[in-house]
């Protein structure tokens, strides 16, 4: 208890300095939280990717279509449990900056393939009954303030309608939620049968397939078998695990992880300097007092603990406030106004943040604490 009191009173000694040091630590941890959330937004797809799912696309490029007939051929391959096709729509809702993913898919199969999309039976039934029906994710519905029953016009950029029109109208019949925080709820799914009969060109052609394998350990072999099945055909395929597909996509945007790690290193290096400098000052200024403490019977280890305790108190207070603020900031929504499919601070990374606090406390306080430990009473009192 006496240690707490001593730590507290030494921090109180120079209130401005203590306050400023804490504030700079706060800033460092706000950035830690915020940048972690940004990185999470890019990585989320990889983390939630199903280990038992493959993505199969045209070998030459993703913009080329595959025949719808591949579905049954794939389902005959050993190790394939189910295959579902999807086609990118790429339309514009009101204006281009309102970008979100729109896909045509077979309604019977969507929720079987993606158990992480949770939907009520009524919504599902309504979708099966409404040909122009669409199911949207919770995040997307909240973003645009849609309600069930809304008619949503989407301007096609790729798919003109048979009548030459470009505006497709969909009826919002259901909303899906994510099973986990990292589940993408920014998507917009409409029915393939409606899509195929309405579009002017490309009938019977689909964008890509998602395939569920019976045994995730054999995923690579199944992928090879799928590619072999369509080798030397007009539309060759490339099958890869969903995680690898999403990762490859994230890699195209850039090495986000590296950029963010570099920024964070710069931030923490700076803050470490500030905090370490403050601790060094406090020890230097109090050489006399520390010597007195030793003279009245505090052990060397006790004094070491005292200085480290101060360092810990500073970083813990600053770090906790920073992480708290970061959490608040992140829950206020993403900085791009909805372009990120998910934006949240995972508990795991919050835990890492606290670990970082402990590490920083030790690194910033260690040298001054060792100096304090080594103080010779007689020398120090004379200074």
């Amino acid at each position: 208890m006496k240690y707490f009191y001593l730590i507290f009173s030494s921090l109180k000694r120079k209130k401005i300095r203590t306050g400023l040091t804490i504030l700079s630590i706060v800033v460092a941890f706000i950035l830690f939280g915020y940048l972690t959330a940004i990185r999470q937004a890019f990585d989320a797809g990889v983390e939630v990717a199903g280990a038992d799912r493959l993505v199969v696309r045209h070998k030459v490029s993703i913009i080329q279509l595959l025949p719808q007939a591949y579905e049954t051929r794939m389902e005959r391959i050993e190790g394939v449990d189910n295959a579902v096709h999807a086609t990118w729509f790429g339309g514009i809702y009101q204006e281009p900056k309102n970008f979100f993913a729109q896909m045509s898919i077979e309604p019977e199969e969507l929720f079987d393939m993606y158990p992480e999309y949770i939907i009520s039976d009524e919504h599902k039934a309504a979708w099966l009954e409404t040909r122009s029906g669409v199911i949207a994710g919770r995040g997307l519905v909240d973003r645009f303030g849609w309600k069930l029953g809304d008619r949503i016009p989407i301007n096609a950029t790729i798919w003109t309608k048979k009548d030459g029109g470009r505006t497709w109208e969909f009826d919002l019949v259901g909303i899906y939620d994510g099973a986990e925080k990292g589940t993408d709820t920014s998507q917009f799914f409409f029915r393939y049968d409606f899509f195929d009969e309405t579009r002017a060109g490309g009938t019977g052609q689909v964008g890509w397939y998602t395939v569920r394998v019976t045994d995730p350990d054999k995923a690579a072999e199944v992928a090879a078998a799928i590619d072999a099945e369509f080798a030397n055909s007009a539309a060759e395929t490339k099958a890869e695990p969903e995680g690898a597909f999403v990762q490859g996509f994230a890699n195209q945007i850039g090495n986000i992880g590296f950029i963010i790690m570099s920024i964070m290193s710069a931030v923490f290096f700076t803050i470490l300097l500030v905090a370490g400098n403050t601790m060094a000052y406090t020890v230097r200024e109090r050489t006399n007092e520390l010597a007195v403490l030793k003279a009245i019977g505090f052990t060397d280890t006790g004094v070491l603990g005292l200085v480290l305790g101060e360092s810990f108190a500073l970083t813990f207070v600053g770090g906790s406030i920073g992480l708290g603020l970061a959490w608040l900031l992140v829950s206020m929504g993403d900085p791009t106004g909805g372009s990120f499919p998910v934006f949240y601070l995972p508990t795991r990374h919050l835990f890492n943040g606290f670990l970082l606090i402990a590490v920083m406390a030790v690194v910033a306080g260690l040298i001054p604490a060792l100096q304090a430990q080594k103080l010779q009473i007689a020398d120090a009192l004379r200074r």
């Binding site: 400023l20 195209q252 290096f269």
Partner: protein, 396 residues
């Protein structure tokens, strides 16, 4: 008044001389600011690089024609007949071979990235002979031009650096065929350097495009004739197209990426800057409190508050300026010209670019540093000037 200036000079000189006694904390403040500036300049140079690539792509007298309703080449589609009608529009420049109108096909092909080995959507452009005449910037730097009618390709210098297997002599797989790479070209840093070029007549069947194209690039007699050109096309009942100036088109292509990076970069810089302000305040408060007695002595000798405030602030500004220079210099050394690739959302294809640390960014960084220094020095300075002389002299 003259006295006031000599006072400033004397006190400032005094505090500069004692700077060496406060090496540790001064260096911390300086490095802190340097870190902030380096990160800010580094992140923003990505956005600048992308923008520079887009701007280098555009020529004043050039225009692009897409199908109406499409925002990028990728989404556009024009029939062979459309492209012939467009080439007859007024205002288009001509040379010996005819109108400088280039119908082009734009697709993507999967190629592995050098850095990660994972696939990227590399843009591939099918061109006809006028393509090289429409673009003044086109310049072959290695190998030779492809033969018309053969399935040979030439690659942009950016694409060759960022994607694997694009050296002259290697070949790319397109379906069942292998297309040899025979040359490398430059386009003054423009977007075309991210692309692979091939004869449109070869690309059309490979991607089953029949006799269709996606865009027509034209060179006009002069930039002033764009309005006439546009009116002629939009009023032609046989066509349903959207003519745009190149500058306008490329600008629209990069807006999303540019705004996103600039937005995020600014948020990060502001938060970090706040941290650096606290660091600078800390340093200057410490510096001032270490010199309490000194400052009180000066006050007792008749120095006024103004010069003392100015001397403290200028010390802080000096540190900030040095920090800003170091940070901007580091960013320039580390990032300027750094090659990278990203995904252009508008066309769903890769673009290669170089980080661009330009004078505008460097000066922004140093101004930001000075702002941090000003705030960091001002409050401690006021405190120093306000403290009661007698108390400070007694060392309280």
């Amino acid at each position: 008044m003259f006295n006031w200036f000599t006072q400033i000079f004397a006190v400032t000189q005094f505090s500069m001389r004692s700077l060496s006694q406060r090496k540790g904390s001064s260096a911390v403040a300086m490095l802190g600011i340097a870190g902030v500036v380096a990160v800010m300049v580094g992140v923003l140079s990505i956005a600048q690089g992308i923008q520079a690539t887009m701007q280098n792509s555009a020529a004043d007298e050039n225009a692009i024609v897409l199908r109406s309703g499409s925002d990028s080449e990728m989404m556009s589609g024009l029939s062979g007949d459309d492209t012939r009608l467009i080439a007859e529009a007024p205002g288009i420049a001509r040379d010996a071979s005819g109108a400088l109108a280039s119908p082009e096909l734009f697709v993507i092909i999967n190629l592995p990235m050098q850095t990660t080995g994972t696939d990227a959507n590399v843009p591939m452009r099918g061109v006809q002979a006028p393509a090289m005449n429409v673009r003044d910037s086109f310049n072959l730097v290695e190998g030779r031009m492809f033969e018309w009618g053969l399935n040979e390709v030439i690659v942009g210098i950016g694409a060759r650096q960022q994607f694997a297997g694009l050296e002259v002599g290697s070949s790319i797989e397109v379906g069942q065929e292998k297309w040899p790479v025979v040359g490398v070209f430059e386009a003054e840093g423009g977007l075309a350097e991210s692309e692979i070029w091939v004869d449109a007549a070869v690309l059309q069947p490979a991607y089953r495009r029949g006799n269709s194209y996606q865009a027509v690039y034209v060179k006009l007699n002069s930039s002033d004739e764009f309005d006439d050109f546009k009116d002629a096309l939009t009023s032609d009942p046989r066509l349903n197209v959207k003519p745009m100036r190149e500058a306008e088109y490329y600008d629209s292509q990069s807006t999303v990426v540019y705004n996103m990076i600039t937005g995020l970069g600014t948020i990060i810089a502001v938060i970090m800057g706040l941290g650096a302000v606290f660091g600078a305040l800390n340093t200057m408060y410490t510096a001032v409190s270490g010199r309490n007695r000194e400052i009180a002595t000066l006050r007792a000798l008749g120095f006024r508050a103004g010069p003392i405030v100015i001397s403290v602030v200028s010390e802080s500004l000096l540190l900030a300026f040095a920090g800003g220079l170091i940070g901007a210099g580091l960013a320039w050394l580390a990032f300027d010209g750094f090659h990278a690739a990203t995904l252009n959302w508008a066309s769903f294809s890769a673009i290669t670019f170089s980080f661009d640390v330009n004078v505008k960014l460097l000066s922004q960084g140093i101004i930001f540093a000075m702002a941090i220094g000003l705030i960091g020095g001002l409050f401690p300075a006021i405190r120093a000037a306000r403290q009661p002389v007698a108390q400070a002299l007694r060392g309280l």
